[in-house]
């Protein structure tokens, strides 16, 4: 059992290390005829991250804080739309369609619009991420609020349960897994949206701006260090969310037993 578990961790780890080693030793460069200045090797990237750590961390913080703020606002708004659509289906449901329409606006179009609405880079970024995150949460949580187990709603009705009880004791717990699914999608989407918005935003800080600026100036190692930081912060946020979800959904599952 433990050997199996260790294998589960060790094999992917070994593959990862082997890939980095091949990259470091020039395997990728030989295969694709790259020069070192076109694709820096892992140790150079690591060195660049360490040499520029304060700048890297502040860029990461600027991007991540904007992404998180936008994600929270967007997810809350999306959830609100789903709740309204559930409680007042007649006039609330079209709200879902409207939010989905927002979702269809490409980020590259959304960014210049937000640049007109907000003066500073933070507001521009939060605006883009909010719009991007709204639809995912609205559609997922609407599904969770309404895909109830058969007869549960009839049972509540037969108890003459008030609307609030139906919502808090039945619909809300039932929607938790969907909400977490939406949050996980939004973490990744929010970070990507935040970085793309930095391509167009007026601020001159953040991972997105640094990636764009450094790659345009052929500072490949610096560009790659920002990519590494973006990947790290994405993985970190995702792991935190997975941990929270494990606890929350465990509680949800025990409620249903």
């Amino acid at each position: 059992m433990t050997a199996g578990k260790a294998g589960k961790v060790l094999w992917p780890l070994a593959v990862g290390v082997a890939f980095l080693a091949v990259w470091q030793l020039g395997g990728i460069h030989a295969l694709l005829h790259f020069k070192p200045f076109q694709l820096p090797v892992p140790l150079t990237i690591l060195e660049t991250v360490i040499d520029n750590l304060p700048k890297m961390l502040s860029d990461t913080w600027i991007t991540a804080s904007g992404a998180l703020t936008g994600m929270i606002i967007g997810s809350l708004l999306g959830f609100l739309v789903a709740v309204i659509a559930t409680m007042f289906p007649k006039w609330g449901y079209p709200g879902l369609t409207l939010v989905s329409l927002f979702n269809a606006i490409p980020i590259v179009a959304l960014s210049p619009i937000m640049n007109r609405w907000f003066d500073d880079g933070f507001g521009q970024k939060v605006g883009v991420v909010t719009v991007v995150c709204m639809a995912t949460m609205a559609i997922n949580s609407y599904r969770g609020l309404n895909d109830l187990r058969p007869f549960t709603l009839d049972l509540m009705d037969s108890y003459a349960a008030p609307g609030s009880a139906k919502f808090f004791k039945l619909r809300l717990p039932n929607s938790l897994p969907s909400i977490f699914t939406a949050l996980k999608i939004n973490i990744a989407n929010g970070l990507i949206a935040a970085m793309i918005s930095e391509y167009f935003a007026s601020s001159t800080a953040g991972l997105g701006f640094s990636i764009k600026d450094n790659l345009r100036k052929a500072m490949m190692a610096k560009g790659w260090s920002c990519i590494v930081m973006a990947a790290l912060v994405g993985m970190l946020l995702y792991s935190v969310l997975t941990l929270v979800e494990r606890r929350a959904v465990k509680w949800h599952a025990s409620q249903n037993k």
């Binding site: 210049p112 167009f200 935003a201 007026s202 100036k217 500072m219």
Partner: protein, 352 residues
């Protein structure tokens, strides 16, 4: 499924008509001018294909090449030219290095950054002798001289376009007191007041700013040349490897290009109209304005037009010096010699 197929077919048909339109228009353009008497190659001779990557959209900034193309000067030299427009994320250095294009147009400060990384690129001609970069602001924002920039928000396009602005700020000791802001490709930010001073090219954005409804006495303009912090801009470059293997083709390309530039300088209105018909950007008047302003950079007052494309090594050295001072991430000190700034081909093409 059927709908999808139909849509696919329609888009193919549309693309085909577009392509047909392009080829017929360029065909008629290249067929008419057969005036040049020294034109030896006829239709039976094989033309050498050559791709030129511009730094920005194909407007009057590049009028010399567009005139040479439309008037058939490249064809006269036995060149089948293909001109690729640039854009915000099209990097001429990378496209030329990767072989997407044979020759590129870029700013010298940007080219040096690539050379310092180890890219085997060499400049072969310097088209702009002066800097066209300005910092413009509304007088109402309280900026009347560079010293007034203290504490202000200053726009730049970045990606290598910021070094002259940094040099100016350093000259006045303002580096730490200003906020640098990323500027889009309009002049709306400075017009609206979300930034105080904006980067602008003499030949493009300055006019766009006036077009937003500002009169000349409402606007303050800081000229990098007058401030003594100018760096060289539009130049022609290619890889050393390509230049050596295509020595003759490169010389012929330079000769045709310079002929195009000379003609454009002689009648900037005609060149502007030609460029407007070619690219359709903004308006004919704007392209003519741009042509007139670009002419001043290619051949400043007192400049001998027989020397168009001349590489002034002192100016190159000044650009390198500023770059070392203001690009803290530069991989190495730029090499300024015959391997990186090679006048051989230009001399051969112009007889200088």
């Amino acid at each position: 499924m059927q709908k999808k197929l139909l849509a696919l077919l329609l888009s193919f048909a549309l693309a085909a008509t577009l392509l047909a339109g392009c080829s017929s228009s360029s065909g008629s353009a290249t067929a008419t001018p057969t005036a040049a008497p020294e034109a030896t190659p006829t239709e039976s001779t094989q033309l050498d294909h050559l791709t030129l990557q511009l730094k920005w959209i194909d407007h009057s900034q590049f009028m010399g090449y567009l005139v040479a193309k439309e008037k058939g000067y490249y064809e006269d030299e036995g060149i089948d030219i293909e001109i690729l427009a640039g854009g915000s994320d099209i990097i001429p250095e990378q496209n030329v290095y990767n072989g997407v294009a044979d020759i590129g147009v870029t700013w010298v400060s940007s080219l040096m950054t690539y050379q310092a990384q180890g890219y085997d690129l060499t400049e072969v001609a310097q088209m702009f002798q002066n800097s066209g970069l300005l910092l413009v602001s509304k007088k109402s924002s309280g900026i009347n001289s560079p010293a007034d920039l203290a504490g202000k928000k200053i726009g730049s396009w970045f990606g290598g376009n910021e070094y002259e602005v940094y040099a100016l700020l350093e000259k006045y000791g303002l580096m730490d007191s200003v906020t640098m802001v990323q500027q889009d490709y309009t002049m709306d930010q400075v017009a609206e007041g979300s930034i105080d001073a904006a980067s602008a090219m003499t030949y493009n954005e300055l006019k766009l700013f006036y077009n937003e409804g500002f009169s000349e006495d409402e606007v303050n303009v800081i000229d990098m040349n007058e401030e003594g912090v100018a760096m060289l801009e539009d130049c022609l470059f290619c890889t050393n490897e390509w230049a050596e293997a295509n020595h003759d083709l490169l010389v012929r390309f330079l000769r045709a290009s310079i002929k195009g530039w000379k003609e454009a300088l002689a009648d900037t209105d005609a060149a502007g109209t030609l460029c407007y018909n070619y690219c359709g950007s903004i308006s004919e008047a704007h392209q003519q304005y741009m042509a007139a302003e670009v002419a001043k950079l290619v051949a400043p007052e007192g400049f001998d037009t027989n020397k168009i494309g001349y590489i002034d090594m002192d100016a190159v050295q000044q650009t390198a010096d500023y770059l070392v001072k203001y690009n803290k991430d530069l991989a190495a000190t730029p090499v300024v010699d015959e391997t990186t700034f090679n006048s051989t081909y230009w001399k051969e093409a112009t007889g200088n």
